[in-house]
């Protein structure tokens, strides 16, 4: 999205309910700033993230997608984040094959105590996506609202 001639990326962050969503809450409680471009969607576990959701986000014009889950070994559902890790590895490889920059997608493990890490991750991710520019390759122009 262009705002006053400046590129403002749209970023979707999927956060697991038990660790990363709480981590995001914590960064709010501690008033740690990160750009408003990041919009968080709550999912029960990182393994709930269907790769289709990421593709859908890109199709609808998102410029970057990040998945945050519990640290490996800490999953509330024992093994969910391992599934997520495998699925995302496959998906990201496929996206790379399609010519999508590897940096547009990311998986990060954020625990409920890591508010600072959440904010730092989001700052870094937004900066990366701003540098990469608009997602042109996967956006479906027919879905554009204007």
């Amino acid at each position: 999205m262009q705002v006053n001639g400046q590129f403002q990326p749209t970023i979707v962050a999927f956060c697991c309910n038990w660790c990363s969503y709480a981590g995001a809450d914590l960064s709010g409680t501690n008033r740690l700033q990160y750009p408003a471009n990041v919009k968080i969607i709550r999912i029960p576990c990182s393994c709930r993230l269907n790769p289709m959701f990421i593709l859908r986000a890109f199709q609808r014009g998102a410029d970057g997608v990040i998945l945050c889950g519990c640290h490996p070994g800490d999953c509330h559902y024992t093994s969910g984040n391992y599934f997520a890790r495998r699925r995302m590895t496959l998906l990201f490889n496929m996206l790379e094959f399609l010519g999508i920059e590897r940096e547009r997608t990311r998986v990060e493990w954020v625990s409920a105590a890591e508010g600072a890490k959440f904010a730092a991750t989001m700052n870094d991710f937004v900066a990366t996506i701003t540098r990469l520019g608009e997602n042109k390759r996967l956006e479906d122009l027919r879905c554009k609202s204007k």
Partner: protein
């Protein structure tokens, strides 16, 4: 079409300072489906909640979006508010505009814009919400404890004390476990049998407790509150009802050359035996591997001497089926096999023993009647060398275990102290890597061994033990003294690492309970739920969860019992309604979901469907048990046909949120 109400909270100035709440409620009022939109200072206050309820009645709302703090904070509050106003609690969605918006942004325009987008996403989701009802399932008020050691006994006693029936399944002919073999306990040095056997008798006499000794769990079906367990009662060849435990048969049996497993093979017993005098239940058992009658059909001495007529050579294993609401795993531990540590000459010399064997050699009821004698020539040893960490703290490859076995430091200090006390003429050396004594009165105990009893503690490992001329030549390192020591010892005692019992792995598969790479059961949360398995209704007691000493085991056993009681007092279990659901018309029965489910909540059934021309088709379809499913959603992604979906976080709902954010 849904009628949605939007309520924007100011949270005092927490939200209102960086988000223009009026603008947000204005903007959201134009969204599709929204019939009412307002803002208020404190939505969670009594007045705010009444306002929501009034709006629900007045505008006949079917769904509610609340733009406020994190759902982790007040989701439940607002769900209850709406439930009281007569709409399903799961028709409420929260847009988190405080923690994830107002608190992290300074610019009001930016904050307002983001709040509107978050509100839109919540509206998009609630449009697809469906009313959900939490199901209930009944609870069988009976518990099963697998393993009859001190952990299992304590758990069973505590559960029975609360008034619930509990069964113990023990694979050995008697309950009691490892603690029956131990001589004294640290750090108080009371006799293990004196404190354990009364508990065993309590368990046997408690009318709420039923003991299935010499039995094994064969199969487990069902889920929390409703387990069906098949138990194999192994043939003892002795009628349990008739046997009085007089022990005459165990004296008359002509087969005398059976290694005595209770004394770890240090002496022999007969083919028909009672493991030890205080066994519970005190019933004789025939060892089928050695009994001449069972092997050749010629003998029958025990049958002739038994006045009760209890011997039955034709007894068969029987299978019984029981129903339980909760299962406690208390399968315990064993010392590891020492084949891979042959440098200590364990297999070459009978005078190299494990610590558990030393317990028997020092026990008054043991093979030597409590006098410490060398197994090889039955003479009194003058120099003893203890080696710590044998197989513990290894690299974890082919050799040994990567973890610390935790109990060895303390029992070695105990052995060293007892030997020095009983036989002051002996020299005792302990070779250690670290001495770990974190426990009440534990370090004091170890210091006493060093300071009062003069045990030689030497930092360093033993490199090799060479048996020669009836002596054991020990070559070891003294790292602090910077020298290699050569000690001529009479006995070497190895503190072998402990590992979970071999029966634990197949049991975990039956229970769908998870295990770590060392075969210890995993707890639901390492800090906050240490006695529960991640699988609902399965509880962990004692060393099956990790190395533990007796006080810790008893504490954990009590904790597991209290969790079981907490489950059994409920008549019904309320299930989480946000569970997976399979669309049976789309499911092709491929089993992909079953493989990823960490709880074993998915089963397959063959169901008849209407086919063309009045035919019926039998198709395999997945079925989710809502009482077991925890709602992680792993299966929804694994499903290739898109049949599996998660209530409350459906594919459609998440896609709608994505669309709303990217619009």
């Amino acid at each position: 079409m849904q009628r949605i109400g939007v309520f924007v909270c100011w949270c005092g100035s927490n939200i209102a300072a960086t988000v223009d709440v009026e603008a947000v409620s204005q903007a959201l009022s134009h969204e599709a489906g929204v019939v009412f939109s307002t803002n208020y200072q404190y939505m969670c206050s009594q007045a705010g909640q009444e306002m929501i309820q009034a709006a629900i009645h007045e505008h006949r709302l079917t769904g509610v979006v609340i733009c406020s703090c994190s759902p982790r904070m007040h989701e439940n509050t607002f769900r209850k508010t709406c439930e009281r106003a007569g709409i399903n609690p799961y028709m409420v969605e929260i847009a988190n505009i405080r923690e994830q918006c107002s608190w992290i942004h300074k610019d009001k325009a930016v904050g307002t814009e983001k709040a509107i987008i978050l509100g839109r996403a919540a509206i998009a989701k609630v449009l697809l919400n469906a009313p959900l009802t939490a199901g209930t399932s009944p609870v069988t008020k009976r518990a099963l404890v697998i393993g009859g050691g001190i952990a299992g006994i304590q758990t069973a006693l505590d559960i029975a004390d609360a008034g619930f029936e509990v069964d113990i399944v023990e694979k050995e002919p008697t309950i009691g476990g490892k603690m029956t073999q131990i001589d004294k306990t640290f750090p108080t040095l009371d006799c293990a049998a004196c404190i354990l056997t009364p508990k065993m008798v309590d368990a046997a006499q408690n009318e709420k407790i039923k003991i299935y000794a010499y039995s094994q769990v064969e199969a487990v079906k069902g889920f929390v509150g409703n387990f069906t367990v098949t138990i194999r009662r192994k043939a003892r060849y002795v009628d349990e009802e008739k046997c009085t435990g007089c022990g005459l048969c165990t004296e008359k049996c002509p087969q005398k050359k059976v290694p005595n497993a209770f004394n770890l093979g240090l002496d022999t017993r007969r083919a028909i035996y009672i493991p030890f005098a205080q066994a519970v239940p005190k019933i004789a058992t025939i060892d089928a591997d050695y009994c001449t009658m069972l092997k050749t059909g010629k003998c029958g001495v025990c049958s002739k001497v038994c006045t009760a007529g209890a011997i039955d050579y034709h007894q068969q294993d029987t299978l019984i089926e029981e129903h339980y609401g909760a299962i406690v795993v208390a399968t315990g531990y064993n010392p590891i096999q020492l084949d891979q540590f042959d440098e200590f000459a364990y297999s070459h010399s009978p005078d190299v023993v494990t610590s558990l064997e030393l317990e028997r050699l020092m026990n008054a009821a043991g093979p030597t009647g409590g006098t410490l004698l060398r197994p090889s020539d039955k003479t009194h040893p003058h120099t003893l060398v203890f080696v710590q960490c044998v197989g513990s703290r290894c690299d974890g490859g082919e050799k040994g275990k990567p973890y610390c076995s935790k109990i060895c430091c303390m029992y070695t200090a105990k052995h060293a102290m007892l030997i020095r006390e009983k036989y002051p003429d002996t020299e005792v050396y302990v070779f250690y890597i670290d001495v770990r004594t974190p426990g009440k009165n534990f370090d004091e105990f170890y210091r006493r061994a060093v300071e009062e009893y003069g045990v030689h503690y030497i930092k360093g490992m033993v490199g090799k033990v060479t048996p020669q001329n009836g002596k054991l030549y020990v070559q070891a390192a003294d790292l602090l003294g910077g020298q290699q020591l050569k000690i001529e010892a009479d006995m070497v005692v190895l503190a072998a690492a402990i590992e979970p019992d071999k029966s634990a792995r197949p049991l975990a598969t039956m229970l769908t309970a998870s295990m770590d790479t060392n075969d210890f059961f995993t707890e639901a949360h390492p800090k906050l739920r240490p006695v529960e398995s991640p699988t609902a209704g399965i509880f962990l007691s004692g060393a099956c969860q990790g190395p533990k000493d007796i006080p810790e085991t008893v504490a954990q056993a009590g904790a597991a019992a209290s969790k079981v009681i907490g489950l059994l007092v409920k008549d019904h279990l309320v299930c989480n309604p946000c569970v997976a659901e399979s669309n049976e018309l789309m499911c092709n029965g491929c089993s992909a979901c079953e493989k990823v489910c960490p709880y074993g909540a998915i089963t397959y059934i063959d169901k008849e469907f209407r086919g063309p021309n009045r035919t019926t088709l039998l198709r395999r379809i997945a079925q989710v048990n809502p009482a077991v499913c925890q709602g992680c959603g792993a299966c929804t992604v694994a499903c290739p046909s898109g049949a599996m979906d998660l209530k409350g976080f459906s594919n459609g709902q998440i896609m709608a949120e994505v669309d709303a954010i990217c619009r």
